[in-house]
């Protein structure tokens, strides 16, 4: 438990570990006496739920391997030793985790306001484009350059989230439809910009890479100091959600719209803030792949180094119980799966995309509230 910082325990305590959906807002029976042990219980339950969902995902993944004649034990052994078995592997897994921490925030902040913001994908493309423009095409001094590029990327990400927010507030367009359409529009728009204006001379398949002055310092393997920026951002979002009036309003609107209306909270402002913060996070994810990911430091025209990171963020957010800091831990796990998936493919021949399928199963398992009941029944018997 020592690994988990105290504010994580605190913020996950009591009602606040519940997501903004009715089934998760059930009142917990105060069976444990002291406040400390109740806090601990408030952390253990969501963690054990996520753990069970992960196990279900891995078991279904094993059956998918058996169906095509692969050996799941060897595959998982290759996956986990590859991901976490060596210092280099751990660093690489953290590098994979970095963008996922940010895209998980996008979905988590949405869910806190009872929104399904699945637009991280498109906002991330636009953010990566912004990082390419400032990081690759503009000359700035070394100290200022990465900061300027990152901020510009985040702003563009936030800007791309705005139409969905405005349509939701103004016309009531469901965000699942609007964000997906914006994702595809962003995909083709960014592809157009790369191919037409920002292509690297002599290498048409990718945009011009970030200039050396705009790059974040390498810690080891392909991990850069970008991870620090992303973790600080996640903590900042946590503070925004649980320590400010705006954050309280956002969570109130998400948890209980009726009570929010009585309390005079503005649901429009909550929706706008939720989309904006989500867009900033997704823009940061895009920037992390351009400014903080060796060796290419460049955006590929088919989004090869970005694609699906936004959707993977949904699973990461749910495993992290829609908490920005929980998402950091979940992202490390999922980054390990992504990195280890390459070892699985190389050593055993199982296509690494299976990891995405496992993620989908985990999400479905986490959607089922009965999983809680299954655990509780087992503990009681």
């Amino acid at each position: 438990m020592a690994l988990i910082p105290p504010f994580f325990l605190e913020t996950l305590s009591e009602r606040e570990n519940k997501v903004g959906f009715s089934y998760l807002v059930k009142e917990e029976k105060a069976s444990l006496g002291s406040q400390m042990s109740r806090r601990l219980a408030g952390t253990i339950r969501p963690v054990s739920e996520s753990g069970l969902a992960v196990v279900i995902g891995l078991v279904v993944g094993a059956f998918l391997m058996l169906a095509f004649g692969y050996d799941p034990i060897r595959a998982y052994f290759a996956l986990f030793t590859g991901a976490f078995g060596s210092p280099a592997g751990i660093l690489e897994s953290l590098a994979f985790a970095t963008p996922l921490m940010a895209t998980a925030v996008t979905f988590a902040v949405g869910v806190r306001a009872a929104l399904f913001n699945i637009g991280a994908e498109g906002q991330m493309y636009v953010g990566a484009m912004g990082a390419t423009i400032v990081g690759g095409a503009i000359l700035l001094p070394a100290g200022v350059h990465p900061i300027a590029a990152t901020l510009f990327a985040m702003c563009l990400g936030g800007l791309w989230a705005l139409p969905a927010a405005v349509l939701k507030i103004w016309r009531g367009v469901h965000e699942v439809v609007s964000t997906i359409m914006l994702n595809w529009i962003a995909f083709w728009f960014v592809t157009y910009l790369i191919r037409t204006y920002f292509a690297e001379p002599g290498r048409a398949e990718r945009a011009m890479p970030a200039l050396p002055t705009a790059r974040y310092a390498i810690i080891g393997a392909t991990l850069t100091t970008m991870i620090v920026v992303v973790v600080v951002f996640c903590i900042a979002v946590t503070v925004l959600l649980w320590r400010t009036g705006v954050g309280f309003e956002l969570r109130l609107v998400g948890d209980n719209p009726e009570a929010a209306k009585y309390a005079g909270a503005s649901s429009s402002r909550a929706i706008l803030v939720s989309f904006l913060v989500g867009g900033l996070a997704a823009g940061l994810a895009g920037a992390s792949q351009i400014l903080g990911r060796p060796p290419s430091y460049a955006l590929y025209a088919t989004m090869g180094n970005l694609i699906n990171l936004g959707f993977d963020g949904i699973g990461v957010a749910l495993i992290g119980r829609n908490h920005p800091v929980g998402g950091v831990f979940a992202a490390v796990f999922y980054g390990g799966l992504m990195h280890g998936g390459r070892f699985m493919e190389y050593n055993v021949g199982v296509a690494s995309e299976l990891v995405d399928a496992i993620n989908g199963i985990i999400v479905i398992a986490l959607a089922v509230p009965e999983i809680v009941a299954i655990i509780r029944r087992r503990r009681e018997s």
Binding site: I118, W188, G360, P369
Partner: protein
């Protein structure tokens, strides 16, 4: 006046379609080709949208149609190659869709899952399972092109010295939409379906199982979406790629939102979206236009049109009161 308002979207769709066809014919392109492409693009959207209408009328939201499209597109080709016939591919693809949707329904109805999260889970699952199946079955990453003989052949009509081809699945989709409308509004089962979505307690009190009705509609919706998914490679593209669904599941969802769960309006919406895709395909390959309008903007068109139409049409739509809520007997 009331009649006009009731049919306003049909009239607008027809007027816009005619106007676009007129402009395109001025530019010197063949209208039959445009309509053929539009109808091909319409078919999977219409099938999935009608299925989702039935599904949502009974009270279950399935946002995982994109995932069903992707999985059934890959497996439809697989079945077609095993049984050596495109028809079997379509039918078994449809059965696969029904099976996936049955599992989804079990999770949502009896597991009382949050339907939107479970649906997104289905999409993410398909995002990984599609390429995994492509790799495991054909050992080739991301794309598989099958033999021409396996294509499901369209019906051909003679028009002067050319042929106009239309797939029988397209005709089936239109018939299914009409049947779905009649089912909902002219039969006892239809009353029960709408009851399960609007007031499940009343249905339960009447001695009809809400869960079974919802599950049945899940299976029907999944079978239709699966037919649409298998249709894409087997009757349209002639191959399967890992991005084959390209957001069409969500466009079908937009069609359902646009239609306010009316299968006939959903058909109109599917036609609008499919037609805009057909126009985009036509423009992409036309000399004279493709030099001026960048290819990438044409690719955006279906999504932009979908978004604009949804924004224009939303409001005043009534959705079932128990939509998306698992039914718990008290």
């Amino acid at each position: 006046m009331k009649t006009v308002r009731r049919f306003q979207w049909y009239l607008i769709a027809i007027a816009v379609t005619l106007a676009v066809m007129y402009i395109i014919s001025l530019a010197g392109f063949g209208i039959p080709g445009l309509i053929e492409t539009g109808l091909l693009a319409m078919t999977p959207l219409a099938l999935a949208a009608v299925g989702e209408c039935l599904n949502e009328q009974a009270g279950t939201v399935n946002v995982g149609m994109e995932g069903i499209f992707l999985i059934t597109a890959v497996l439809g080709v697989y079945w077609a190659e095993i049984f050596g016939s495109g028809l079997y591919g379509l039918l078994l693809g449809s059965a696969t869709g029904a099976l996936i949707s049955l599992l989804f329904g079990l999770v949502c109805i009896y597991g009382k899952a949050n339907q939107v999260i479970a649906g997104m889970g289905l999409n993410i699952l398909a995002l990984g399972l599609g390429p995994y199946l492509l790799m495991s079955i054909w050992a080739f990453p991301g794309i598989h092109v099958f033999q021409r003989e396996l294509m499901f052949q369209p019906l051909q009509f003679r028009m002067g010295d050319t042929y106009f081809s239309i797939s029988s699945v397209t005709i089936a989709a239109v018939v299914i939409a009409i049947l779905a409308y009649l089912l909902l509004h002219r039969t006892l089962l239809g009353i029960r379906i709408r009851g399960a979505g609007e007031n499940p307690i009343a249905v339960d009190v009447a001695g009809v199982s809400v869960g079974k009705i919802r599950l049945l509609m899940c299976i029907v919706g999944g079978a239709l979406a699966g037919l649409g998914g298998a249709f894409m490679p087997l009757a349209w593209f002639g191959g399967v790629v890992k991005e084959i669904s390209a957001g069409r599941g969500f466009i079908a969802l937009a069609a359902v939102v646009f239609a306010g769960l009316d299968p006939l309006l959903a058909l109109v919406a599917a036609f609008i979206f499919g037609f805009s895709e057909g126009v985009a395909f036509t423009v992409v390959v036309s000399p004279g236009v493709k030099e001026i309008v960048p290819f990438y903007f044409v690719q955006m068109a279906p999504y932009a049109v979908t978004l604009l139409v949804v924004v224009a049409a939303i409001g005043g739509k009534k959705f079932p009161r128990a939509l998306g809520k698992p039914y718990v007997r008290e």
